[in-house]
């Protein structure tokens, strides 16, 4: 029986009396590779922020590695890539290496020593060697995104949460990034949640689909989704076909 990574029970979130998530239930097991999709404002980013304890739920509960926020543990096992525009100040005077090393903070706080080898590995992996001493604001959008992905992966996490990771990547880098995720999931049993707007392409990469629209409309394998008459009614057969044809 795979280990439980995330458990959500009757989870609801409200901002200014506006319901953002309502009665969300799901369970994520170790080794799942989930494509989290849904329309704008459906609560995708809110859900992952709840998982990480960044947003408090108004009702119900959510636990990560068997602990509910704020007492969450095993932070060093998580790799997180937030949506870039939410935090990014391009004039911040910081180098590529400084940004990537932030990904090791949870490791350092849990007492694990780091000698910079991990940082070197991801710098190599994401082809950032020539850019390591450049300021983050001097890079192109795609290069910046590679740096933030490297930051999420530097601590060799067991659970990866990626909020729209490929938005600024060119097709070649995008493909090799998805190959890397596939390899991490298959060979190292890394659990992945991939938030994306690419509903047509998500079946190519992920093994499970979570469709969210304030509540969970669908959560399960792609085969189940493609054969579901309910989903055909909900999305229309044409949309269901678009999601399924690349799977």
């Amino acid at each position: 029986m795979p280990i439980s990574i995330v458990e959500a029970r009757d989870l609801s979130v409200e901002f200014d009396r506006r319901q953002v998530l309502s009665g969300v239930n799901f369970s994520i097991r170790q080794g799942d590779y989930i494509g989290l999709v849904g329309p704008n404002g459906s609560g995708k980013s809110t859900l992952i922020k709840c998982m990480l304890g960044l947003i408090k739920s108004s009702q119900g509960n959510i636990s990560l590695f068997d602990a509910a926020p704020p007492a969450m543990k095993y932070r060093e096992r998580i790799g997180y890539l937030p949506q870039r525009m939410e935090f990014f100040n391009p004039r911040f005077p910081t180098t590529v290496t400084e940004v990537i090393s932030q990904g090791m903070i949870a490791n350092r706080r849990s007492g694990n020593k780091s000698d910079g080898e991990e940082i070197e590995k991801v710098i190599e992996l994401f082809d950032l060697k020539g850019l390591r001493n450049r300021l983050i604001g001097e890079l192109s959008g795609g290069q910046q995104q590679r740096v933030f992905i490297a930051r999420a992966l530097v601590n060799a996490p067991d659970f990866l949460i990626l909020d729209e990771p490929t938005s600024a990547l060119d097709p070649e880098v995008r493909e090799s990034f998805f190959e890397l995720l596939h390899e991490l999931n298959e060979k190292k049993d890394v659990t992945i949640i991939l938030v994306t707007h690419d509903i047509g392409g998500v079946g190519q990469y992920a093994s499970k689909l979570m469709y969210l629209d304030k509540k969970v409309i669908f959560f399960g394998g792609f085969d189940e989704f493609c054969e579901s008459e309910n989903m055909a009614k909900f999305f229309g057969t044409a949309s269901q076909h678009i999601i399924c044809h690349k799977h």
């Binding site: 911040f92 005077p93 180098t95 300021l135």
Partner: protein, 293 residues
């Protein structure tokens, strides 16, 4: 001193005269006190300034110094020691700014403006009730680093070294919060607690700085070295080092120039800071240290 005097024996007459003036200048007790306390406070301001400017809280020094004005006016009306009254009031006000940002859902600049206007209004009212602006209140408004007492030097040394040590030990956490607060929270950093500590450190620094450059120019010592550093810094750590060196140079040069030319010390220190900022900007402009811009 002995080292300086031995250097003098091998250099030209003009330079020797200038250095002799400088050595004599260092012999004064009030200059020594000004340089010891001022140097530590200037480095402290530079380090905190880099963090505050990057967090878009550049005006917090200005806001809290206005509160300091109100607190000093209150202390004088009650005949208490101004530093002892200012410190708790400014610390509470810094928390008020943090809470207004969280609860009233406004950006830092608006929260600072609210607290700042209360501080200045209370100060004017108290000064008026106490019979107008007296000489003492003016001395706090414009500062006088040359009149710093031994007790104030001791307070500056203890507080500055403690604050700098706290920043050194929590450097990674502070950097992470400054760059990306959500990522820092997700990494398990106690963001709210560190934010609160940073606010207290800023409040303490503002109160200490009032003696160096005065209430009116406190925010200059927080903001100018940081902006100077950002022109050419190649990294966060690098920005903090450049800001500290720039701030320290301005302080020493400012004290020396103000004494030599009989100018007000606070304003002179600030103008040296402005001069270094212009130099740093021109260096970036001509040598294009930020390649992408």
């Amino acid at each position: 001193m002995a080292l300086l005097r031995s250097i003098l024996s091998v250099i030209s007459t003009d330079a020797r005269g200038c250095l002799l003036d400088f050595i004599e200048f260092l012999d004064y007790g009030f200059i020594q006190r000004a340089l010891i306390a001022g140097s530590l406070i200037s480095v402290l301001c530079a380090v905190l300034g880099v963090i505050l400017v990057l967090r878009r809280l550049s005006m917090i020094g200005d806001g809290l110094s206005h509160v300091t004005f109100g607190a000093v006016a209150l202390a004088m009306a009650l005949n208490f020691y101004p530093l002892a009254v200012s410190l708790p009031i400014v610390v509470v006000s810094s928390f008020a700014i943090l809470k207004i940002m969280e609860k009233a859902r406004v950006f830092g600049d608006a929260a600072i403006a609210v607290v700042s206007s209360i501080g200045i209004a209370v100060g004017i009212l108290l000064a008026s009730i106490a019979g107008g602006f007296n000489v003492d209140l003016f001395s706090y408004l414009f500062g006088n680093i040359l009149s710093i007492s031994t007790l104030e030097v001791a307070a500056a040394v203890v507080i500055s070294l403690s604050v700098l040590a706290a920043i050194y030990f929590f450097f990674d956490e502070i950097f992470s919060i400054t760059f990306d607060e959500d990522f820092a929270r997700a990494s398990g950093i106690p963001v709210n607690r560190i934010n609160a500590v940073l606010m207290v450190l800023t409040a303490v620094t503002v109160v200490l700085t009032m003696k160096v450059v005065g209430i009116m120019l406190t925010s200059a010592l927080l903001v100018l070295p940081a902006v100077t550093a950002f022109q050419n810094a190649r990294g966060f750590r690098n920005a903090i080092i450049i800001a500290s060196i720039s701030s320290l140079l301005s302080l020493v040069a400012g004290v020396f120039i103000s004494f030599a030319l009989n100018l007000p010390a606070g304003a002179t220190i600030v103008m040296v800071n402005v001069f270094l900022l212009c130099g740093s900007f021109l260096f970036r402009y001509f040598f294009n240290t930020h390649a992408a811009e």
